[in-house]
């Protein structure tokens, strides 16, 4: 087993083991914390595919995170009130089914990504960063302006949606659901990166002219990758809103986009389990350093700066060495 595979396995076990122990000790707070790690890691896995594998520095991924969150919120609201989402030409109401919410979140994120990607993927460099940021800002301001869905104050989710056979309200069960989805996403990304599509995508990152010279147009490859990446982040958003029982425009803010990029980088950009390590580090800093001093963001900023300047490979890079592409 390679060093990286070993590190990955340990991370996966640690993420599973900690909440199991916490549940046995009847500490639901730590179980919820583990859920947060799993969910943010999922959001990061999405971004990492676009950014780390595809080289697309999206500063607007919070748009998908927030859209997923709002799907959960809006579905819950309409289910709670019994009112339709829209009534013509056919009625669509809210939903209490978690799977339905996931599917809608995936679909909405995909559509948004196709639109945003079509508009921004012909650019590169700083223009791409700015345009993705701009699109996310537009969606943010749209959410702020919808009084029916809480506007700036956001939307509370009073009832957690349901899954067949299990009690989704139970913190440990909910964690296991998030964890399972995270593992599934990691598996899919792993297959994709190793596939022909992954090879083409990586070349699109390293040298798009070379890819085109071989006869593969970079744009459709990047758009597909961007869309898949958005779907994962959007799914994470739906889970996040359900975990917190709350969704607000803050989930769409550029600060949130920045945070996701930060923990992807902290974990190790382009590495499979990078987002898992990064999300864990981020949440642990917030929970433990944050509990001790209000200045935890100072520590985060310092660590981030150090990583960018000196330890570019992030946590996975430190533990498992440089990435091997062969």
């Amino acid at each position: 087993m390679s060093r990286e595979a070993l590190v990955n396995a340990l991370l996966a076990l640690a993420l599973l083991g900690a909440p199991l122990i916490a549940a046995a000790q009847d500490e639901p707070f730590y179980v919820a914390l583990a859920s947060r790690v799993a969910i943010l890691a999922l959001a990061g896995v999405g971004l990492n595919f676009a950014l780390g594998t595809g080289g697309m520095v999206s500063f607007g991924h919070a748009a998908f995170f927030g859209l997923g969150g709002y799907v959960a919120g809006v579905a819950a609201l309409h289910a709670f009130e019994g009112s339709p989402f829209f009534a013509w030409p056919f009625e669509i109401g809210g939903s209490e089914s978690m799977v339905v919410i996931w599917l809608v979140a995936l679909a909405v994120s995909a559509l948004a990504a196709l639109a945003i990607g079509a508009g921004s993927l012909r650019t590169s460099g700083v223009y791409f960063i700015m345009i993705t940021l701009a699109f996310a800002q537009m969606i943010y301001y749209l959410a702020v302006s919808l009084p029916a869905y809480g506007g700036e104050d956001g939307l509370s989710i009073y009832i957690r949606s349901t899954l067949p056979l299990v009690d989704s309200d139970d913190p440990l069960t909910f964690f296991l659901v998030c964890y399972a989805l995270l593992l599934l996403a990691l598996f899919l990304v792993h297959r994709l990166v190793d596939s022909r599509f992954g090879a083409a995508l990586q070349c699109a990152r390293m040298n798009p002219l070379r890819l085109a010279t071989l006869g593969i147009a970079p744009f459709p490859v990047k758009l597909a990758a961007f869309t898949f990446s958005a779907m994962l982040t959007g799914l994470a958003g739906a889970l996040y809103a359900e975990l917190n029982g709350f969704v607000s425009p803050a989930m769409l803010s550029w600060h949130r986009s920045g945070e996701i990029i930060v923990f992807v980088i902290l974990g190790g950009v382009g590495r499979l389990f990078g987002p898992v390590a990064g999300a864990a580090l981020f949440i642990l800093l917030e929970a433990f350093v944050g509990g001790w001093t209000d200045r935890w963001q100072l520590v985060l900023g310092g660590i981030l700066l150090a990583v960018v300047l000196f330890a570019r490979g992030g946590v996975i890079g430190l533990l498992a060495g440089k990435a091997r592409h062969d």
Partner: protein, 257 residues
């Protein structure tokens, strides 16, 4: 397929490209026929790179047409032209930097045979792909370097890799931009012999500064000066041309056999 009437792989018709007041390409006509090596020579700043970019698809001409294998490809993208049958090597190496030599060629083979839309099967374990890629590497003499990172290659070896990747596409026409640059005398001899053997498989438009190689390989030569083709013909015709001598070759011809 070539243009049935003329048997031409590539025809450039009245190509013009200006950057502000500077005419980088000024009404260029050029033809490359099947089984021939057409060399493009000219002093630095003549506009060779601009012309190559217009043939390959990275730059759109202001006026004129590019006809490749009988198709008017003037508006086509780089990728589309490559799929039609155009292979290209770059003057400044343009490779997939983090991949090994072998993976680079495998990518080329993949692009030709299977494309990008496979999501499941691991590409590195594809035996057919590996075998074909190793075969191409063998042809250019890079087998020993197959697993090395591209960054470890010398200038000359990167040139060979570029040629290998272009060949992996099984092109009908090869666009070679200074393939000899960075090769020592041994390497140049080998590559020259290699290209001579390749002639029967695909035509070539060869941009080169190395005059010995040009005179040894070219069936026809076009001379580009300030964006214009000032002379076009066989090696003997070009060597005899006073206009060419005046504009470009100067001392190169004196004393050459």
């Amino acid at each position: 397929m070539t243009d049935a009437a003329t048997g031409a792989l590539l025809e450039l018709k009245g190509l013009t490209k200006a950057f502000g007041a500077l005419k980088a390409t000024d009404g260029v006509d050029l033809t490359v026929r099947h089984g021939e090596i057409h060399a493009l020579i000219g002093p630095n700043g003549a506009g060779k790179s601009t012309l190559i970019a217009q043939v390959a698809g990275g730059l759109a001409p202001d006026t004129g047409r590019v006809v490749l294998l009988g198709e008017d490809v003037t508006g086509w993208s780089v990728a589309r032209r490559a799929r039609l049958g155009l292979g290209r090597s770059f003057q400044v190496s343009s490779l997939a930097w983090e991949f090994s030599v072998l993976r680079n060629v495998m990518l080329a083979v993949q692009a030709r045979s299977a494309g990008a839309w496979g999501f499941w099967a691991p590409v590195r374990k594809d035996e057919a792909l590996r075998a074909e890629a190793l075969g191409v590497l063998d042809r250019v003499g890079l087998t020993l370097r197959a697993d090395d990172p591209v960054a470890a290659l010398s200038h000359g070896e990167r040139r060979l890799l570029e040629v290998a990747m272009a060949l992996a596409l099984r092109p009908r026409l090869l666009l070679l931009d200074e393939p000899m640059a960075g090769l020592g005398p041994e390497g140049t001899k080998e590559l020259t012999a290699f290209l001579a053997r390749l002639k029967t498989e695909c035509g070539m438009l060869l941009v080169e500064h190395d005059m010995d190689a040009v005179f040894a390989l070219a069936d026809r030569i076009s001379v580009l000066v300030y964006g214009k083709v000032i002379a076009s013909g066989t090696v003997a015709e070009i060597r005899a041309s006073a206009a060419v001598r005046e504009a470009y070759l100067g001392d190169h011809l004196h004393g050459s056999a």
